[in-house]
């Protein structure tokens, strides 16, 4: 199997990528500002619905049903899409999906395509694959456009350019947009510049490529949730529409949307409803594209599905609430996660989707991701489909540990620690052995210890071990 492009080639393991990111003062400020804003708004949007917790439970249950009967729902979706004039393709991995899309674009005789923001196509590196095939893909979502024009990488699921502030965006636009040399840093002006830049592309594009937020098995209807209207442009104006969708995005019935169309907007942009949601089924004569292709993408999803604990990550509706509340993400930003899926969901999804394709450095990155969390649990608290992210993180850590060789230093230390702790006698002895550390202490604190304890003492003191432990005191006084 080839490399899974879900991770970026050459990305270092999380701790060292994080170190670089933490040193970027501008990035830290931008992230703190953006995540701080959205957190408060999300809380308010959620508080408006008295049945929020019940909606979360229903969302979880619907998605669990989807996963447990995925084959049934996908084949049902397939036949419904076909019955209404669409064509369905299946792709085992990124390369296969990219090849299908490239072939379809060529068949439509297009050398340029417009794209609606889609995680699935970002995950498979579609733009790069199209470029290699001589097709240029134009991102039309504002944040994706900022990333594309800035020759940058995304750092957030919903707002890929969240690491950029308005002044930086202005500079990118001035440098790359032919008619934006004078644009100001007012968000409204920046949005206007993007509108002018893309208008003619929309009006002339022959092929559009989108992702899908949901697809209804019963009816074959596909749903795209967006804000700017670039989605509507792509879904409506070109002759050919190609939608690339992860297998897990199917939902059983139309009624299920009554749950997700409440959960998603409030969790992601903290709005009661996002500006535009489009629903289409196959091809409608006289309205929208004349050809519709749906590409169903595996790319590691079935392997994820096979893991009893890890499979819950496939419930994800990509709202990004977990990123916005994550204290680690807030400080390091998304690029440190080395993948289009950053933050808590990335820490559990990337290692699962990318498993098995891990060449040396990629394997190191994948193994480091489940440790990129303090397990504070804020992500689980906000997740609209109740993915127990801390549970999956610990589960994946366990998977990593099981793959370690027996002589791995950490494994040896952990085994020794548990051997000591497994016996009260050995534990008391170990406590006594810590006593001499007191000699290093000044004023009750120890300031420096050798490696690896230095990773603690580099920034924190350690209390000097007391003359008498509590258990010793208890024995002495209460015996």
């Amino acid at each position: 199997m080839g490399r899974n492009p879900v991770t970026w080639l050459g990305s270092p393991a999380f701790p060292s990528a994080a170190r670089t990111a933490l040193a970027d003062v501008q990035l830290r400020g931008n992230l703190a500002h953006a995540t701080g804003t959205i957190r408060g708004k999300r809380a308010a949007a959620v508080a408006e619905l008295p049945d929020w917790e019940r909606l979360r439970l229903a969302g979880e249950a619907i998605k669990d049903d989807v996963l447990a009967n995925l084959d049934t729902y996908l084949t049902r979706l397939e036949s419904q899409v076909r019955a209404r004039g669409g064509v369905v393709h299946w792709a085992r991995d990124a390369a296969e999906a990219n090849a299908i899309v490239l072939r379809l674009v060529r068949e439509a005789q297009a050398s340029e395509v417009v794209k609606v923001k889609s995680m699935a196509t970002a995950e498979i590196g579609l733009n790069e694959a199209l470029a290699e095939g001589g097709v240029s893909a134009i991102e039309t979502d504002l944040a994706e456009l900022i990333v594309q024009l800035g020759d940058d990488r995304p750092s957030h699921i919903l707002v890929p350019a969240i690491h950029r502030n308005r002044a930086e965006i202005r500079d990118i636009f001035r440098a790359t947009m032919p008619h934006a040399a004078q644009v100001s840093d007012r968000p409204a002006d920046l949005a206007e510049a993007a509108r002018a830049h893309l208008r003619s592309k929309f009006l002339t594009a022959k092929v559009a490529i989108s992702g899908a937020n949901f697809a209804v098995a019963d009816t074959g209807s596909v749903v795209v949730v967006e804000s700017e209207g670039n989605g509507r442009m792509c879904l409506t104006l070109p002759d050919t529409l190609i939608t690339v969708m992860g297998l897990e995005k199917v939902v059983p019935t139309w009624r299920d949307l009554e749950v997700f169309l409440q959960l998603l907007p409030r969790s992601s942009t903290a709005e009661r409803m996002n500006p535009y949601t489009s629903v289409w089924t196959g091809v409608t004569p006289g309205d929208g594209p004349r050809a519709f292709h749906l590409v169903l993408l595996d790319n590691g999803r079935t392997a994820t599905l096979a893991d009893r604990v890890g499979r819950q990550a496939l419930r994800c509706i990509r709202c990004s609430a977990c990123l916005n509340v994550c204290p680690v993400y807030e400080r390091t930003g998304g690029q440190a996660y080395g993948s289009v899926y950053p933050g808590p969901i990335g820490a559990i999804l990337t290692p699962q989707l990318g498993a098995g394709t891990d060449d040396g450095p990629t394997g190191k990155l994948l193994r480091s991701l489940p440790y990129a969390s303090s397990l504070c649990g804020a992500c689980f608290e906000v997740c609209p489909v109740r993915i127990d992210i801390p549970e999956v993180l610990v589960h994946l850590r366990n998977r990593t540990v099981q793959e370690k060789p027996a002589y791995d230093p950490e494994a040896v230390a952990m085994a020794a620690a548990s051997w000591v702790m497994a016996s009260p006698r050995r534990f008391r002895l170990a406590q006594r052995l810590l006593g001499p550390l007191r000699l290093l202490a000044r004023g009750g604190r120890i300031r420096r210890l050798p490696w690896p304890a230095s990773r603690w003492t580099d920034s924190r003191d350690v209390p000097a071990p007391p003359k008498e432990t509590f258990s010793a005191w208890w024995r002495r006084t209460r015996g």
Binding site: R54, P187, L190, G220, R232, P275, V279, T302
Partner: protein, 206 residues
């Protein structure tokens, strides 16, 4: 070469070899709820998106539409061919779009605005839903003009999202519209006005 479809389906079945238990989906969330006066709430929530919203009497629609268009300075309007004729009036050049004579994309792009009805509206979220049904036209019609004037009848407004979903047929092309086009892509703050109509005006007719 193995058929990818068969491979993927086989992988799925193998992955589910443990037959994960699926508890039934409990739908004890609120399908409808007391939202007070639906019209008031709808008007308030639409206005929250910085759309213009006015409540008008049905019989006064022609006058009110004309007033809106005049205030906006819109002179070249497009509309679906099945728009009630009596809504159209004023010193406006009307171009009608229909299956027999679809307007070109350029023509839609050049129009000052578009006038339509809607299928359903949701009070709680301030949303209008278009389903390409009567008085709504195809999707491109309400997308390209920069100004969308939408007439919502009182009986089309429901309280909640589930109530709206129940009224809609997903096999029709649907567009849920909540305010003018907007983006949160700059510092996660909402700014109105990107690719879709930057001006949305809703007339609640009762």
């Amino acid at each position: 070469m193995a058929d990818p479809r068969e491979v993927v389906l086989r992988r799925i079945r193998a992955a589910l070899a443990d037959s994960p238990p699926v508890p039934p989906v409990v739908r004890d969330y609120e399908v409808a709820r007391d939202v007070g006066d639906v019209l008031d709430l709808f008007a308030e929530r639409v206005a929250d998106y910085r759309a213009v919203v006015r409540r008008v009497r049905v019989e006064a629609l022609p006058v009110e539409i004309e007033a809106s268009l005049r205030a906006r300075g819109a002179r070249r309007l497009v509309a679906p061919v099945d728009l009630p004729g009596w809504w159209r009036g004023g010193e406006v050049v009307w171009s009608l779009d229909g299956p027999a004579h679809p307007l070109s994309v350029r023509a839609l792009d050049r129009a000052d605005g578009v006038l339509t009805g809607c299928a359903v509206a949701i009070a709680e979220t301030g949303t209008i839903v278009l389903d390409a049904g009567p008085a709504q036209g195809r999707r491109a019609l309400t997308l390209l003009p920069d100004y969308h004037l939408c007439v919502v009848r009182a009986d089309q407004i429901v309280g909640t999202v589930p109530e709206a979903i129940a009224r809609l047929d997903p096999v029709r092309p649907l567009t849920f519209v909540s305010g003018p086009s907007a983006t949160s892509d700059i510092e996660l703050d909402r700014v109105e006005g990107v690719h879709g109509p930057r001006n949305l005006e809703v007339l609640i007719a009762h």
